[in-house]
Amino acid sequence: MADSRHAAALAELLPDLPTPETPLQELWRIFYKDRLAVIGLVVLIFLLIAALAGKVLTEWTVTFDPATVRLPDKFKPPLSSASVDLIPPADRPLFGTYLLGTDELGRDVFARMLQGSFVSLSIGFIAVGISVLIGIVLGGLAGFYGTVKLGFMTVDTLIMRFTDVMLCFPTFFLILTVVALLPPSIYNIMIVIGLTSWEGTARFVRAEFLTLREQDFVVAAQALGLPERRIIFRHMVPNAIAPVLMSATIGVASAILTESALSFLGFGVQPPYATWGNILADGKDFIFDAPWLFFIPGVAILVVVLAFNLVGEGLREAFNPKLRRR
């Protein structure tokens, strides 16, 4: 608030002076220069709309029904129309056309992809949300209260050794073990992916906190007698969030890939939920008879994961202080 008033007064006094960029504007300027990242961002916005539309149109007001089985219409190629004489009117797709064809049970692939976009995306976001939360809490504790003694070891030693223990597990093998042993459920998959991928975030946050704790503004805040809660959440976390945001973007991408790999091995999200991973894994059996069942989800995963990775890379460039002010 005081900043903007100050800037306004300055602009009045010196009209020729260009108004200084806010950090967010500067971030956007650098990000915008990276054309691939901007394209990725546009794709992600489309995906978000598609996912929300998928939730609304396949579950709340059922315009596209992903679960309707139409045996006379199985393996219809994309853009073919429904057999009017065999399918009852209630089961026909919108406008009587299968936009992306049908699968081995005559289910509408477009409807399944729409539903899957929401499920796949929520797996990515929730898994990464869990891992970021654990990473920030453990990394923050180790970075801020690292020197506190707990018996014979410090908090930092305890947390970092625990991180080392977790790093010793081969991640995919561990996910596979737990998912296979637990009863199959979409929540288990989200939670397990989240619980096994927080180590990187914890290390980032700890390193950032260790440097931030020595910075003047934090020392000043401590000298002013601010409560620790406020120092941590208002002053330190916002400054440490940049690498976390970057790695979270890439984390969503790898969570979507992990889910599709689990689906391939048969431990993915179980029916009735459709995800892009299990549409692809089911589609591989019909690669000769119905190639669209394999290529549509495969290309969709490729495009979306690529978009997440490119946006993550764009953020990395934008947050990199060495590339700023050039």
């Binding site: 080392d164 223990v165 081969p170 561990l174 042993l181 009863p183 995963i301």
Partner: protein, 320 residues
């Protein structure tokens, strides 16, 4: 130096104990008993199940089961739940199958990533740099099995050669030369496919590392004193950019088990990853736990070696 190494080894041994305890509890606390894997089998009577449970100490408390596991592992008498075969020879045989795949994959990754990454860094912003960036991200983003299926289809229909498995069925009586060629050919596609993501990731890392070093003062000094560009890049810049890659050796070894599940499944390669997958399907706890344990040993050994190597190649690092 020696004190550092000794303390480091002790720390890692302690970590290993915690890892094994954690792995043991994760496997045993999860629902799903190994004796219930085949409930529809009419020959499995309750007394059979009880006998199996007693034979594998499944009715003892958890900490005793852990002790039994460790004791049997140390004496080499650990037996698989599924077929009562000793676990260690079973793993060793699969390890020998995985090893050529792993070696080829690693060689491909490390020999291709460096030229690709260095060239992209030296020509930053050029068409080559932008193309290789985009291709690398595409390869990272493709689901591994999607790409593998496409490549298998293409290879089989274009070259009309088999790609699945370790060798062609019925080649046992052929001349040794042909047998070896057959084995080699079967290695090519699986190792290429499992190397794809690695090449993409490592070449990006090489590029950013080179860019970092090229911006340093000593590279500018080398240029300023009139050295030829090749000497600047390969002698002054590359040698310093290589340092962090020593640490990456540490993360190489565990890939032998965890990284290969998908590809060994696609290519029907009887290696460690598939052994683990089959063990998980069968609730074969001794095999799962021992594989996890070996993976942890490999990780710890790898990071230990890379710590030491780092201090050897970089004189600025002091071990204390």
């Amino acid at each position: 130096m020696w004190a550092f190494i000794l303390r480091n080894i002790l720390q890692r041994l302690l970590l290993l104990v915690f890892v094994s305890i954690l792995a043991h509890s994760v496997a045993h606390l999860a629902p799903g008993q190994p004796s219930e894997v085949d409930p529809s089998n009419p020959r499995m009577k309750p007394e059979d199940i009880a006998r199996i449970r007693a034979a594998f100490h499944l009715d003892e408390p958890l900490h005793l089961q852990y002790v039994y596991w460790m004791r049997d592992l140390a004496t080499g008498e650990l037996k698989s739940f599924k077929d009562s075969q000793p676990v260690l020879p079973k793993i060793w045989q699969r390890f020998l199958n995985s090893l050529p795949l792993f070696i080829c994959e690693t060689l491909i990754i490390w020999s291709l990533s460096f030229p690709i990454g260095i060239y992209a860094a030296v020509r930053r912003g050029s068409a080559y740099d932008r193309t290789s960036t985009f291709v690398a991200y595409t390869l990272i983003s493709i689901p591994g099995f999607f790409l593998s299926y496409l490549v298998i289809l293409w290879v089989v229909s274009t070259f009309n050669v088999p790609v699945i498995g370790m060798k062609t069925f019925g080649m046992e009586d052929a001349q040794p030369v042909f047998r070896w060629m057959d084995r080699l050919w079967h290695l090519v596609i699986p190792s290429l496919m499992s190397a794809v993501a690695g090449i993409a990731i490592l070449s990006r890392y090489v590029r950013s590392q080179m860019l970092e070093v090229i911006g340093q003062d000593y590279v500018r000094t080398a240029r300023a004193k009139g050295l030829p560009e090749d000497a600047v890049i390969y002698h002054h810049a590359l040698r310093n950019a290589l340092l962090p890659f020593v640490t990456m050796f540490g993360f190489l070894l565990p890939g032998l088990i965890g990284g290969s599940v998908i590809f060994e499944q696609i290519f029907a390669w009887p290696g460690l990853g598939r052994l683990g997958y089959e063990a998980i399907l069968n609730r074969d706890f001794p095999v799962i736990l021992t594989l996890n344990f070996i993976a942890a040993v490999l990780t710890l050994a790898g990071t230990f070696v890379s710590d030491i190597l780092y201090a050897v190649v970089d004189p600025r690092i002091r071990l204390q």
